[in-house]
Symmetry: C2
């Protein structure tokens, strides 16, 4: 045997790093730190704890230098505790920010288990239990949406990749030629019909697929920023006139900026009449289907050919956990027709989920949602959706009732777009500038976190009410904070 | 104020789910369960604990039913403990399987912190600390590879998405037309030159981008499955003759099936001479750069225009954590030129990483690697790489020395492809069938976990030695187990 056959004992650095007793000790310390952090967040009621400890980008870099030494330097739990201290606090009731939820804490524990087990899931045997759990949650999600028995799908890492995956399936099903094998130039340029209010990942996916900017043909929206189904005929004709073959309509449920739900039944009728694939981007809002009170918003979603639904939005899971659901699950295989010999013995192996995702190795996302559904019950998820939607209604009502505030549109969901307009005659660039200054001032102050967005050419303030622990105190408080910020600016 | 302004107190189901004391109690219980699981895995030395508790797909589904009730059903920690019990055990020394590592356990703890904090990272303010940490680890990775000061990049969810991202940048930089805006049909069909030994995500990305099967033009490999740089001229001419514009060479460091490293200096010379983008898929093997002993394998990688490097392979991180590195970081902006008004005030904001990824919301991947580099030191990661490469050498030497085994090729890294050939006259379909039966038998038996792959039309056995706790006992033991499996079959 040659010299290279020699193999020494496991080096000390490795034995120490993999020592289960070290994991146990660090783990217990970390749990206490995170529980303390969580308790501080959830019980924060005044100005004592910032929701966002703001640091400008240039000031942040020196805090986390890239000077990694050969030997261990900082304690793991200390680094993570410092990370928590500097991070934006999603569990703080004053977190009124992006469409990222404060995860239900047990899901973070499930995440640790998923990370340690690290079953890779590209093929069944590398994540058999996780595959079983994923197929269970996907089946449940399809059922919640009222999709037919032929439905099915998979989980993938995020709504953007999910939308890309669904458009790949649409391309293969509806283009009329085999773009996967023969390329984009084997047929006419393709297009999807979509409102400008859709998430930017749709426009991005269209460009990734090589359809260019013209591949997303705009459909008009109404005064509440919902797609106008009666504009689809015009948009379809415009695409054809531009030399394109429309293959799909992409509807939002709800849209990103305002949370508006496009009218799915009318859109589904149009798709049926014209042989178009219907993709519903329900990343944010498909969860409304859990609630009898809000189900009407997604009526028609069961007719979609594909749906994207982020569990890391209104199912309160940590990022990322996105379901791509198909009315006819066999469509999901056609999106990725080629084969890796070292992985797949044959196509159409329903148990090898890697045949149907952009991803190869994949996290055990299904495990996290599965364990959470068992531990909290569907009732918790329904209560979560109803609570944050109620927050949206309650906040919109306050904005509408306040003489110095203006509401962009009555909200369908938990996203409210509004602005501070102390005098009716204030408008144009000055009004925009006021919102920008308020927003910047509150961000840097750190006691409140909300957003801004452009809508109809103007700048508005925006909040996605993702934290179910937010209450009346915060809804009133943020309006006062905005008034104070404006007053400080105007002084 | 209308009735919808009314907002009740936080419902009980939500208060209970978000209760920090419940998180603390569940967390401590889970840490003990996971530590016990880890200890059982790392100390497994005999047949007592299976590495893969095999269940056929059809038998797995009923174990994880989709019958989620409205009320809480199963305890969170119980579900996760059962998940661990049924999962493949990557920390078991007999895990000789896929290119997914047993994560260094502290990284799983960091994962829990990242999941609970859940800072979304599409824009700086939603993950300011995580952005600082990500930029630190990315800068460190570029430095480890010897890339120039202009280099930079970002983290993304997995090597497949990473390769797609890099090819988007290549398309924008090298196509000679603006495919992002004007579409694929604004110029000639494009092509990349790549060996058939590259990961299937390259062929997949080419098809996603609309270049079709012909968009990946094959370059020949040598007897050790490395790209033959002297075949690039022919491949380039073949692409041109097929009416395509070659824009890039995709080199593997190392390749998936055998871990072979393509000859980067010669490939870089060819790219420089022909104005081609050089993308190096170092998902598996870029980590060799950490070791003075193995650095030579990736010499030339510093000349690549883009590199993909998975920290969730040979940096022992849990999936997913992939770096996309660019020689000129400004290239990374050009891949995604459009803008979401609600997110980005301007382009080229280096602190808003969402401008440069397929993803919008992104996990705090950088936090996990950052905390691990601090806690374990670079020396640990070097020791990890050197250990698993030494395992590859030691196992290959054993295979080569065994008269009844055959080695496909001398390994560059920690991947060994081999087969059982008890009689030299055994060949063809019978030899293939023997490997298939051995592999299936051992998989279902569960005491050992290794793979099979097709190479040169024949079926071989394959192992990726990812567990640094694997030792001589396992390297010898698996050969005996294969002999026993074959004997049982032949009886």
């Amino acid at each position: 045997m040659p010299a290279s056959a020699e193999l020494g004992p496991v080096p000390d650095a490795i034995a120490r790093a993999y020592d289960p007793s070290r994991f146990r000790a660090d783990g217990h310390r970390l749990i206490d730190q995170l529980a303390d952090h969580l308790a501080a967040c959830t019980s924060a009621t005044d100005d004592g704890l910032p929701v966002i400890p703001w640091l400008a980008p240039a000031d942040m870099l020196p805090r986390w230098p890239a000077d990694f030494a050969d030997q261990p330097a900082d304690d793991l739990v200390d680094t993570l505790t410092a990370t928590a201290a500097g991070s934006i606090r999603l569990h703080h009731p004053r977190y009124l920010g992006h469409q990222v939820p404060p995860p239900v804490p047990g899901a973070a524990l499930a995440d640790a288990a998923a990370a340690l087990l690290n079953n890779g899931m590209a093929v069944y045997e590398m994540g058999a239990v996780a595959t079983g759990q994923e197929l269970a949650v996907v089946a449940w999600m399809a059922r919640v949406l009222g999709m037919p028995d032929t439905a099915g799908g998979l989980l993938t890492s995020g709504g953007s990749v999910g939308n890309l995956t669904a458009l790949l399936a649409a391309r293969q099903a509806a283009a009329g030629f085999d773009a996967w094998t023969d390329g984009a130039d084997a047929g006419p340029p393709l297009a999807v019909l979509v409102a400008a209010t859709a998430h930017y990942s749709i426009a991005r996916a269209v460009r990734v697929l090589g359809w260019g900017a013209g591949g997303a043909v705009e459909v008009a929206v109404d005064e509440r920023y919902r797609m106008r189904a009666d504009d689809l005929t015009r948009a379809h004709a415009a695409a054809v006139a531009a030399g394109r073959r429309p293959i799909a309509v992409v509807a939002s449920a709800g849209s990103t900026a305002t949370g508006a739900y496009d009218p799915l039944p009318a859109i589904a009728d149009f798709c049926a009449a014209h042989g178009l694939w219907l993709h519903v981007d329900g990343a944010h809002g498909a969860s409304a289907a859990l609630s009898a009170q809000h189900r009407h918003l997604v009526d028609g979603i069961e007719r979609a050919d594909s749906v994207v639904w982020d569990a890391h939005k209104l199912l309160a899971m940590p990022a990322l956990c996105t379901a791509v659901l198909y009315k006819d699950v066999t469509r999901s295989y056609q999106a990725f027709a080629q084969e890796a010999s070292y992985l797949f013995a044959a196509e159409r192996e329903w148990w090898n989920l890697g045949l149907r995702t952009v991803e190869c190795t994949k996290r055990m996302m299904g495990t996290i949602l599965y364990a959470s559904l068992r531990a909290y019950g569907v009732g918790f998820f329904r209560a979560y959706v109803e609570r944050v939607f109620a927050l949206g209604q309650a906040f919109a009502a306050r904005v509408a009732a306040a003489p110095d505030f203006e509401l962009a549109a009555s909200p369908d969901a938990n996203i409210v777009v509004f602005r501070y307009r102390p005098e009716p005659e204030l408008g144009g660039a000055a009004l925009d500038e006021l919102q920008a200054v308020i927003r910047r001032r509150c961000l840097e102050d750190g006691r409140w976190y909300f957003l801004s967005t452009r809508l109809g050419g103007a700048l508005w303030l925006r909040t996605a009410l993702m934290n179910p622990l937010t209450g009346v105190r915060e809804l009133d408080g943020v309006l006062d904070a905005i008034r104070s910020a404006a007053a400080a600016v105007q002084r």
